[in-house]
Every structure is written in structure tokens, then in C-alpha cells.
């Protein structure tokens, strides 16, 4: 084998047509040829079927099957042509190490290092200036690339649009009255003027027919058995949308955190680290549900500036 390896580079190797390497891999080339021919014909039929299906506005299924089968059959035909009807080989080529000769390496190293020294020789100060200017350029170029993409967070993550006296309105924009929700009912509400806002979303639950308290100090927050929590999961911000009246639990469908609505939405299960913030409610003289104030803490998942 070594002789061939050494001679392949420069000389012409002429194959003999009786050479077993040039014979097809197929034992019965004629039969293989017929099979390949049949596949090509069927592939063409598949293409034509797709054309007709498209023309007639046929189903996606028929479109997928016809053109898909056509392409696969043509692919098999072509691959079989290459695998069974073309020279079976095996063929080989020589491989050369990536490493260059010692002389070439020495020449490269000399060129880079010595000419490099020529550049920096007695010009260290210029080099430092260049590095400093380059660093400044690198920093300022990042301004338009990164800083322009969006606004600064400032304090926007710390508070929501809930204000003292905000009416609770539904996703349809209707103000919620204390008589609107039956016991066991749940409504997604927003502060008036901010319907659909991702951070303001709040669940209003008529948890109980009798008054109850979620935590000491929150006695006045749950008028007539109504309780409201931020709907933004404290894990990753998904809407905590599933309410089970029997167990009085709220479930986040994204990562299955479970919150108990009777004790201040303390997480009972799953990866959520904190209770859902509770919105203090009151019922005004006209019977509308309103917020006593905003949330007493940032809503949603944790972040560095959250204290």
C-alpha cells in the first residue's frame, strides 16, 4: 500500500476497466438499474401528483405525502446510483500532517517576532496610547449597539400602576362590583386605564362567603371574602391562572408552583420562592371594588435590585 501512497501525488494513475475497484458494488447491476429506474419514475409520479394537488387546492396532507414521497424516492434512486452502480472502490488519498517543516516554522516565527519587535522597538509609549484609544473605542461602540436597544429599568420594576382608589376593571374594561362575582369565582383585573398590562395583572377571587384574613396586619384587605393577588408568578412571571376553590390554591401552569390563597399566597409547592403580593381591597359606597393602595412590594420574579 505504501508504494501507491507515495506515487499518487504527481503521477497519473490510470485505472484498468477490469480493475475490481471500478466495478459497481451491485452484484446484479442490471437488476439494480431497473429498481433505480422504477424509483425515478415513481418520484416523477409523486411530483406530478403534488402539482395536481396544488392546482386543485388539495389538502396539506396530500401535498406533503406526494411531494415528500417523490423527493425521498428520487433521493433513494440517486443514492443507490452512487452506492451500487458507480465504482465500488475502496479508494484512498494520502494525508499529510498539518505541521509544517521546521524551516517553515522558523521562518514564520522570525517574521512575526522580529518584525513585531521592529514595530514596538522604543515605541512602547505609542503602543500604550494605541491600546488606550482602542479600549475607549471598544466601549463607546458598545453604546449604540447595546444601550440603544431599550430604555433603562430605573425604578419601573419596583411598582405597578395600582394606585390608592384604583377601580378593578376586567380584561373587557368593565368595573367590577362586589355583587358581580359568585363565591368560588375568579376574575383577572387591572387598574382602570391599564387593561392588559403584563405587570398590573391581578387575580380577584371571591374566596369565601364569610370574611377571612390572610395574615395578621391585613385584616381590612379582604372585604366580603374577596381577595386579590398579583397574577405574575414570583418564579418566572407566568400568569398564575389556575384556581381550585376546594383546596383554595392558585397554580402556575408553567412550572407548577402552588400558592395557598388563604394564608397570603404562601408557596406550598414548586420552585416559586416568594408569596404572590396581595392587593389591599375595599368596597366603595357605590359597591365597586377598589384598591386601598398599590402593592407593598415589587411583583413578579426576583431581580438584583429587588430588596
Amino acid at each position: 500500500m505504501t508504494e501507491v501512497t507515495e506515487t499518487t501525488e504527481a503521477t497519473v494513475v490510470t485505472g484498468n476497466s477490469n480493475d475490481p475497484h471500478l466495478q459497481p458494488a451491485s452484484v446484479h447491476p442490471k437488476r439494480t438499474e431497473k429498481v433505480v429506474a422504477a424509483f425515478i419514475v415513481l418520484a416523477a409520479a409523486g411530483f406530478a401528483t403534488y402539482g395536481a394537488t396544488y392546482w386543485q387546492g388539495g389538502s396539506a396532507q396530500l401535498q406533503g405525502a406526494s411531494l415528500g414521497i417523490g423527493l425521498v424516492l428520487l433521493g433513494i434512486a440517486l443514492a443507490a446510483w452512487g452506492k451500487y452502480l458507480l465504482p465500488r472502490g475502496p479508494f484512498m488519498e494520502a494525508r499529510h500532517p498539518m505541521r509544517s517543516s521546521d524551516e517553515e516554522r522558523a521562518r514564520m516565527a522570525n517574521a512575526v517576532i522580529e518584525r513585531g519587535r521592529l514595530v514596538m522597538h522604543r515605541r512602547g509609549f505609542l503602543g500604550k496610547l494605541l491600546a488606550a484609544a482602542g479600549a475607549i473605542m471598544g466601549i463607546v461602540v458598545a453604546f449604540p449597539v447595546i444601550r440603544s436597544l431599550g430604555p433603562l429599568p430605573k425604578k419601573s420594576l419596583d411598582s405597578t400602576d395600582w394606585l390608592p382608589g384604583s377601580y378593578l376593571v376586567t380584561a373587557q374594561g368593565l368595573r367590577v362590583k362586589a355583587s358581580d362575582v359568585e363565591v368560588g369565582g375568579i376574575v383577572t383585573v387591572f387598574p382602570v386605564g391599564h387593561v392588559g398590562n403584563a405587570m398590573d395583572q391581578t387575580v380577584l377571587i371571591h374566596a369565601s362567603a364569610v370574611p377571612f384574613t390572610t395574615m395578621p396586619g391585613r385584616e381590612s384587605w379582604t372585604p366580603e371574602g374577596y381577595v386579590a393577588y398579583s397574577k405574575v408568578c414570583t418564579h418566572l412571571g407566568c400568569p398564575v391562572g389556575l384556581y381550585q376553590h376546594q383546596t383554595q390554591q392558585l397554580l402556575c401552569p408553567c412550572h407548577q408552583s402552588v400558592f395557598n390563597i388563604l394564608d397570603g399566597a404562601e408557596p406550598q409547592f414548586g420552585p416559586a420562592p416568594r408569596p404572590l403580593p396581595q392587593l389591599p381591597l375595599y368596597i366603595d359606597t357605590a359597591g365597586y371594588l377598589r384598591s386601598q393602595s398599590g402593592y407593598d412590594q415589587p411583583v413578579g420574579p426576583g431581580f438584583w435590585e429587588r430588596s
Binding site: 494513475v13 458494488a25 433521493g75 479508494f91 429599568p153 418566572l236 408553567c254 414548586g270
Partner: protein, 501 residues
Amino acid sequence: MSDDLAASADLTTGGDRTPASASVVDRLLGWADDRLGIAKGSELLDKIFPDHWSFLLGEIALYSFVVLVLTGIYLTLYFVPSTKDVIYHGPYLPLKGKAVSEAYASTLKISFQVRSGLVIRQMHHWAADVFVGSIAVHMMRIFFTGAFRKPREINWLVGVTLLMLAIVNGFLGYSLPYDLVSGAGLRIMYSIVLSIPLVGSYLAFFLFGGSFPGNGVIEPQMFIMHVLILPLVIIALIAVHLGLLVKQKHTQFPGHGATEDNVVGSPLYPVFLAKTLGLFLIVTGILWALGGLVQINPIWQFGPYRPYKVTYAVQPDWYMGWLDGALRIMPSWEATFLGHTIPLEVLLPAVVFPGLTFTLFYAWPFIEAKFTGDRASHNLADLPRHRPKRTAVGAAGVALYFMLFAASSTDVMANFFKVPLNTVLWTFRITVIAVPVAVGLLTYQICRELSAIPVSREPKRPVVILRTEEGGYVMEETPIRPGDGPGEIAPVAVPTRVGIE
């Protein structure tokens, strides 16, 4: 084949026909060579591709990417990257008259009004799943056979980067239709970015153009990222990946005349070209058929994204499953540090863990070289059994990511098997550690035992077992029959002239 091969053969040897008698192909090649000197590079036609099946995994990835580019360009002709609400007036009745985003409405239009649009949209989605999948399996092949070793470490780094970019771009594309499921995915991604200490809230605001959902979610930064910037980077890296492959040549398995100093297989032209074009058509055909026959991401069933709406079984595409699983089984460990919040329950599984994963991927060739002290160049691939430690680590890794992937459907499993969610969760918390350890130890043992068995490189021949008169048994090899094929022959250089009339 004969005309073309003879013509190109003539060209490489200088040619001895007069221009008048030369074939059209010969004259065309001459025309191009006069202007570009292409004959000087024609040994590329002789480039040898090893014939082992496992070498087509990377090709599948390449061809899925070609399909992604072609179908992706088609989709951009119809897709509107905008979260602005419009009233839907299309043929899908359940949403008629409802407010949906332009992105969502245009995706519905592609699905229901553009002829073949649904097939092409689903084909694009399937191609993305197959793209990442074939990269992952291709990477396993490279890993388990040691093909990442010197001199190919650089190409390993390029490949790992391609895997990462494929996952990122897959996630971006999945998010573009702005349906209820992908919108929840974006919400989660925003919160993951938010969890990064010190810079998280700034990064989240810059990437999303403000507090979630922001205005940069789909229009226009994410869209341009998905259809222009990342594809260009991927194309450039694929060019480097293949360029290095040509320069360094393939690895190959030992035996059948393969040595450290040669490559044995089929030449690029015409044998490999026929086979690989066939593979391209097969991959395209299967993806097209999947696009037409197997529904994927039916966004009309999910509905348009509303930040306050959510649905059951929110799951990402398969290649994000390991991250979702890690998030699900992570305990709720939020930490505080000097008055700052560090959401470890998000940071560890969704930032630190993938960061470590890719750092380990990048560093593996160098870690292994350090441990084995092996600084030599290798062109012959390892059989996995002969490297029990590497194989065990790899198998344990595959098991770990598979377990995390499975953990991304804890809720579905709890419902399906009618067991409490808590039981499923704790089962995963334990097995996600225990299974990889067990798989690693078992793999190590199997490799040790397998490698003790000598590997025969001879082709197998059928045998006949005969019973002797004394009641004993003897085994006789059958003679070679006409249909048995020519048997093993030694590899030769690709002939420049083949002498076919």
C-alpha cells in the same frame, strides 16, 4: 457519468484532444480554466469521504439548515413582524373578529390562505427540530469516537458554537408567531435574563426594549436577529466548519486499509456527490412530508398571546426541554446578598447550568488531553469501548440531559399516570442524579468487558454446523458463492483516467 469523468480526467492531465473535437463539457471547463485556473484545484474532486454511516449525521444537519434557509426566506415573504393588534378577518372561524397581533395574523394567513404555506411553515419548524437534533447526534458521534482530538479541536469549538446558535435561533423563531405558548416562553426568557445579578434588569430591558412584553420582543430586533444576523453567523461558521474539514480531512475508523496516513472511502466526484445529493433529497423529502402530514405548533389552537392568559402544558420545543426541566425540579432557593436579591431558583438551572454545560463542551478536548497526557495528532477514530472513561462520562451526560428533558413534562406525567405532582417532582429530583451515575458506571463496565474481546476486522462468512457420527459438532465455513460479492480488496488511489469507452 462516463463523458463527464473522461472530460474532467482529460483536463487534469492536460488534455490531448483538439479543441474542435472536444466535448461541450471539455470546452466549458477550458473556458472557465482560462479565466479562473480551476483545474489547479481539481484534486478536490478526488477528495475521499469515508463510507461509514455515522458520517452522514453532520450532512443531515447541513441539509436541514439548507431547508431552513429556503423555507425561511419563503416565510419572510408573508410574515409581518409586529405585535400591533389587528382584527382577524381570515377563514379560521373561531378567531374571526377577534383582536390578534399582526405577527399572529400573518402566521395564520401563511397557514390557511397561502397555498402550500402550511406545509412550508410546518416544514420550517420540523427542519429546526431536526437541525438541532442532528447536530446533537453528530456531536455525540464526534465525542464518542474521539474525533475532536488534535488536530481537530478548533473544529470542535466551531461545532459547539453552531449548536448553541442553533438552539438560540430555534427559540427566537419559535417565539415569532406570538401565540399563547411561545409568548409564555418569552415571558420566562425575560425573567431568566432578569435573574442575572448586577446587570440582569438592564439586559432584560435592552433585549426586550423595555419592561415585558416591551416593544422589541418581535418587532424588529428579534425578527432581524432570527432571519438575518444569526443565520449569517451560522452560514459563516458552517463555511469554516467545512473548510477545516477539507483542510484536515476526515477521521476514519481503523481497518479495511485505513491508517493514520491515508483516508479510505469514496471520491467526492462522482460517487460521494451522487450519494450525498440523494441524502439531501431524502432529508428534504422527509421534512416536506412531515410538514404536510404531522402537525406541529398549531398556533390557532393556542390563541394569540395575552400576558394575562395561559394554557395547560406549556412546553418549549424539545431542544429547550432540558432547561425547562431543570427549572421545574430546582428547589425554591432565593438568596439575598447585601440587600440584593439573587434568584438562585432561576439563576442556577437557567443561567449557571447551561453556562457550565457549554463551557464543559468547549473545554472537553483540552480537559481530556490534560488527563490522558496525549498530545499526538489522531486521524483514526476510537471505538467507544476502547475509551471506557470517556464513553462513561459521555453516556452519563446524555442520560443527564435526557432526564432533564423528561422532567419538562412533570405535569403531563402526573396527569397521565394519575400520581401526585409532588411524587413526580421528587422522583425526578432523585433520578436526575441517580440515573446518570448508574448509566456512567454501567457504561464503564460494559466498555471494559467489550474491549477485552478482540475485534475481528474480517468480513463475516456464513458457516455450516455438522453433526458427526459420534455425536459431536464441527463448524465448516461455506465456500464463496457467486452472489457473495468480491470480498475485501485493498484501497487504491482514485484513477485520473478510467478508460471507459
